[in-house]
């Protein structure tokens, strides 16, 4: 059976679909958070070298992975919007940016709190930390550019171009920072064991999926507001049940 993707790429249809999907993603995320935290704190054993501090990993690593993943998804949506002129793609890119930036922030914050007991410093100019910081800057640039353009069509296109340029540049930045760091011989402490305990893997996986589902739920909720703002004064918006209540 062929699925009519264009049907779901219309903001009208997507608004309703997103509204139905949000609770599922939100509840699944909540349940997985509980499972992940339970395994992470009660099942996974204490690490020989890092003691209990390593448990920061269960939030730090998923946040880092998602911050990068969301940037790629955002750039992908932006490119789709630019090439095929689908309005919804641009709205999705706009909705993803704040969540991505927050994950980058969580990654940096937890990284600092993990670094202090392990490396003895809140911040070291480690390649990964530095790249994450630059990623946060890229997110902030994208958000600031979109926020300062009044006309939504220009904001979409300009933001898309910036996101694409950024994503082309990200590998170069990452490589250059890594290379710079190895020249500087930054402090690096590797994990004690080469192989992670199975419970640690499970906890990490659960937390990663939980964060991912959470990101989807929040983005969908945000994109619904964006759709409403963009489609103000259309009949279908005015006929929505949530518009019935008198102000």
């Amino acid at each position: 059976m062929a699925i009519n993707w264009f049907k779901y790429s219309a903001p009208t249809t997507f608004y309703g679909l997103a509204g139905k999907l949000i609770p599922y993603f939100a509840w699944a995320a909540a349940i997985l958070f509980v499972i992940g935290l339970y395994i992470g704190f009660f099942v996974a054993p204490t690490d020989a070298v890092q003691s209990e501090a390593y448990r920061i990993m269960f939030i730090h690593v998923p946040a880092s992975i998602l911050s990068m993943f969301i940037y790629l998804v955002m750039a992908g949506y932006a490119a789709l919007g630019l090439i095929f002129k689908t309005r919804l793609s641009a709205m999705m890119a706009q909705a993803l940016a704040p969540t991505g930036a927050l994950f980058a922030f969580i990654s940096l914050w937890t990284g600092a709190l993990w670094g202090k007991p392990m490396w003895g410093a809140w911040w070291v100019w480690d390649a990964r930390l530095t790249s994450e910081l630059i990623l946060l800057f890229l997110y902030l640039g994208f958000i600031a550019l979109q926020a300062s353009i009044e006309d939504s069509r220009r904001a979409d296109k300009a933001g898309a171009l910036l996101a694409i340029v950024g994503s082309v540049n990200v590998p170069i930045i990452y490589f250059s920072v890594k290379w710079w760091n190895t020249l500087h011989q930054g402090s690096t402490i590797k994990f004690s064991g080469t192989s992670m305990h199975i419970a640690m893997q499970q906890a990490m996986l659960a937390m990663l999926i939980a964060c991912w589902l959470y990101a989807i739920a929040v983005t969908l909720a945000r994109v619904r507001s964006i759709i409403l703002e963009r489609e103000a004064n259309t009949t279908w918006v005015n006929e929505l049940p949530e518009m019935k209540v008198q102000s």
Binding site: T110, L113, V218, L228, A232, V245
Partner: protein, 63 residues
């Protein structure tokens, strides 16, 4: 292992709970902001619609 031991995190309590607390706070703030944005958007849309409706009614009385 007692609850006290659990919360002490073998001396790393500040770092571990600082991380998870911050993450929780960020998530909470984001959820509140997304909900707030929806509320504000809907309120503005209703105001706009009501204003448009009054304008149209005004026209009808004029005619």
């Amino acid at each position: 292992m007692s609850w006290a031991d659990f919360f002490a995190m073998n001396g790393y309590a500040f770092y571990v709970w600082g991380s998870y607390g911050a993450a929780l706070l960020v998530f909470a703030i984001e959820i509140v902001m997304v909900r707030h944005r929806r509320k504000v958007t809907l309120r503005e849309l209703r105001l706009m619609r009501d204003e448009m409706g009054e304008m149209e009614q005004g026209k009808r009385y004029d005619a």
